[in-house]
Assembly symmetry: D3
Homo-oligomer: 229 residues x 6
């Protein structure tokens, strides 16, 4: 397999990315027709939401050579997304990489492998999502690629795609769909807000979504519990 570092990938617009950063992963995922979500990676902090344009890394397990190469490709607003060619629990990312990324204006890191220095990362306010927490170190021996399409948690991520991440997990917004996704997400937000207000007022989903006849059609019977008081 050819190994290559692609420079200057196209990126989704900063405005769109920042607008998506204010909307939750669940809402964007729904607005995009329930596509793009990644649940296998978990945040190392709580209560943080970020969005960035992906710089992708395909590494050999336990080898961080290509992450070093990828740092140089990061621009303000990017998010580093690392996977390995076979599942790995090595601690492939930590405080020193985060220091380099922070200097370049990257907004976070998504590591489909292990991560370490978790307390230090929280202390410096650098958000990260990972599959494992593990201190085991790495070597720098085997080539890989930067900014090629990768698969993370069942989703394809290409350089320049938008990754939104919060406590619920991550969602990938393909660059070409970013504007549509933003419009749809805002529409869904409005709808959710209306539903929330209705539910706060006591309306039931059964009525709001017209599900009573659906239950009847499906043959779901209502019966008083045999031991009802």
């Amino acid at each position: 397999m050819e190994t290559v570092i692609l420079t200057d990938p196209p990126r989704a617009s900063r405005e769109t990315v920042e607008a998506l950063a204010s909307i939750g992963v669940a809402t964007i995922h729904e607005a995009m027709g329930r596509t793009g979500h990644i649940s296998a990676l978990r945040p190392i902090q709580q209560g943080v939401r970020v969005a960035g344009t992906a710089v992708t890394v395909l590494s050999w397990p336990g080898d961080n050579l290509m992450i070093h190469a990828a740092i140089e490709q990061c621009r303000p607003g990017d998010i580093l997304v690392v996977t390995t060619r076979e599942p790995s629990s090595h601690g492939m990312f930590g405080e020193l990489f985060a220091t380099g990324l922070a200097h370049r204006g990257a907004v976070g890191a998504v590591i489909d492998a292990g991560i370490r220095d978790t307390q230090e990362l929280r202390d410096m306010g650098f958000p990260a999502w990972a599959r494992h927490i593990n201190v085991m170190g790495t070597v720098k021996s085997t080539p890989g690629s930067v900014n090629v399409p990768i698969v993370v948690g069942g989703q394809v991520i290409d350089a320049g795609d938008i990754v939104v991440a919060d406590d619920d997990g991550l969602v990938v917004v393909p660059r070409a769909q970013a504007d549509d996704a933003l419009v749809a997400s805002r529409a869904r937000l409005a709808k959710e807000e209306a539903t929330r207000a209705a539910f706060e007022g006591g309306e039931l989903g059964l009525d709001r979504y017209g599900m009573r006849p659906v239950l009847a059609d499906l043959g779901v019977a209502y019966r008083r519990h045999p031991e009802a008081p």
Copy 2:
């Protein structure tokens, strides 16, 4: 399989439920002869303990139709308990459902599937326990049942049973055993308090529980470490 919504199930008494809410899951579990505990579901918050009477939901994986039906059956002091007919990681519960439950006075949710909007749930103070965190949405196509007995984490839960939940997990107290469980739990609490005081004073479990002769009978030898200083 017949699908049915049982209304007005019998419920354990509010007084008993509230009394159990002040006792930890571990203590109640011990007091009931080590029965009823569920460890496979984890809290999405820290430091919260609740107890409620179960409204049970048996759903098709990835289908939230019956949760909508169950909301209507909830009364103040209830706790919603959802399982699926086959393991599912779908985000079957989130902020909107919690809004509806909070309006009806439910005290929490136990989801043997995925949950989403975890930060929003923490922000609104609605406690929840779940097997997965996942934004993936649901459909409303397949019938199921409400308030029938279900199995969650190896335990049978029936409508009206008491579910106590805290950072350690959950324990199910069958409605018919609730008063006995409360008496036994209080007795155990007192015993634990006495033991704690003894241990704080330096007494050893070996002596308090009379285990030195047990060790001897079992042939456990004491020997000075060969490299003892």
Copy 3:
């Protein structure tokens, strides 16, 4: 298998232990040539780092008899390390054991099984690492050993070895290597600090570690992204 309680094991020096307690698990692990790390057990609290000399326990699954025997063997500065002869999720450690350990000056507990009373342990400030959280109780029927070598998470731990634990996991420092490990860890800390300063100033790992020729030798090509703007 003989069952034995070894008393008065040799212990690493307090000064070395305390010095290591101020250095992170990741750094010590690296300084020791990437040996000794345990990632399968997770902390029940956040932001705490401790180091102690191990008192080891080999128990039958679901049986806490030998933990009682081990408490008596603990001295100020020790850390209790428990494993079972076959994987177990039982809640083998909780608040009462912690009370006894705290009285004797132990600094924490490492449980390769389940743990319970997690909130109470956090409230009393007793740090712990475990494989499972589970309230399920134990019996006191089957013999085991104290202060014999055990294997936890793939690492051999002997009585008197140093265990350092933080949010990243654990590292075992064999007693005989403790002084060397401390020297090497301090050297590595200094090196990491220099690297951090360099990265904060914008230097790249590619340059600092001389990896550009490595990439070239490995045939990694730089190419402008076909869709570069």
Copy 4:
């Protein structure tokens, strides 16, 4: 929790059990409305199907005392079903137990724990299903119960219920539903046979089940592949 050995449980009729033994687990499961299936335990042999009346065992993890007690309760046509009060991988069943069971006419064993002597069991033709394969032995120290209701793989099994097991897994037929389950299973078998014949003749499920309008109603579009030849 009270520990008890219940003798002479009621049993489903031999004729019904034997009739179910000739029908596959998948078919019976479907005929019962998709209830009762267990997929977490796997057979140690291939191509064997058995059905028996359950003798249930609730053991302490790693303790085979109650299995010994249960052997005496087995009658010809029974199947031994063992679970533990907390997940266990111990090899709780092997050739010697199978020898005792075979002498008493039991038809197989279902072990929700570990099993050993797998080759010997195959050689003697004693079928078994288990969660783990593991030689680790057991003690005989802690009480448990025989012929009380237990939960295995999410299903409640009571003494005298029918357990059918084959390469696909297991299905539990509650004793009271056995005759109905047999009638429904035979009806389903006939229906499956007709469907098989239709499919062998080239009929499509789309047509046989009338799903073309369903697809249309759901908005599923047919489109020629953009790269169609």
Copy 5:
């Protein structure tokens, strides 16, 4: 998300597919630069190797509607590849589907979910690979797509791509790379044959691959074992 059935996808040539069917998954995977392999799905039979052109299915978990639609799209030499929009253990494929596929000349099935009727499938000689074995049935309620790109076990599979499957797992050969992959696989086969002959004759990999200086350069020392006889 749009749901669509794409008809008449382009297919890799029969000659290439059949040629690849005679080469093992491991060899093809190596020949393609170590891409395309899937290890998470396991065969239900032993000693069978097939290759086919993929007809892809994206289903809702526990819903087999789209598999019915996909059967009609299968042609001789195809292999059915099914995934679900969220992980599912439902038994989504069995004997009846296999009967329909066999009638149409399909060579096998790859199910990223559960499978059932495993003994019947072996008896009829229809090879299959799956993630789970489980009898749990399905509904036919929710739309999905056929012949769109899907992700299975971390690999993207598009309609018409070649899937080769044997006891080692699966490898996906993108249609556009099929001829190159065949050439490279044959070259690698020849090389492996030469290596096998050399190794049978006693040559060591250390010598054949020139690794002795590599070991020396890496600082790997040879030392006589301290307890050497």
Copy 6:
């Protein structure tokens, strides 16, 4: 960490190894006081039992350099035992390595990582046990060690120790304990044979092991089932 290849390790005697090869893993494990068993690795074949003296390999994940070095160290009667410094699913062993080992008289391979060419290995009659089946290939870049002590599945294995493997898993017999283990295993075999004969004749374990008073002492009650016929 120093990387080294230790040559000419001491080996357990061939007679002892061959004698142990005729005794099952479960029996030896019991005879050694229930120590040394490994259950996490599974055989790729059925019905085969081997015993050999261990040549141990500590590799970097996904790197087979040290396996090449280890082949040269193998002698007739050896068994190759490979682990990695962090969990790895790479296919680190296959037909070509087996060819080299077979030439040198090694009796099998134990791979705590992935294995490939499983059908070819069965065809050539080379037995193997592994944690994963996976074709993903390896590099030859990172140093490791041969014939140093390693930990596999929680057990320490040193060069020259005896590894016995069959369908139940593996057991490690430390070289220094080999003769004692053989004597104890033969004694246990004889005892098992007597028990088997007794059980075939209808004796119950309850009587043979004198467990009836134990049950009574533990408070286990016998009661007629409330629904007894």
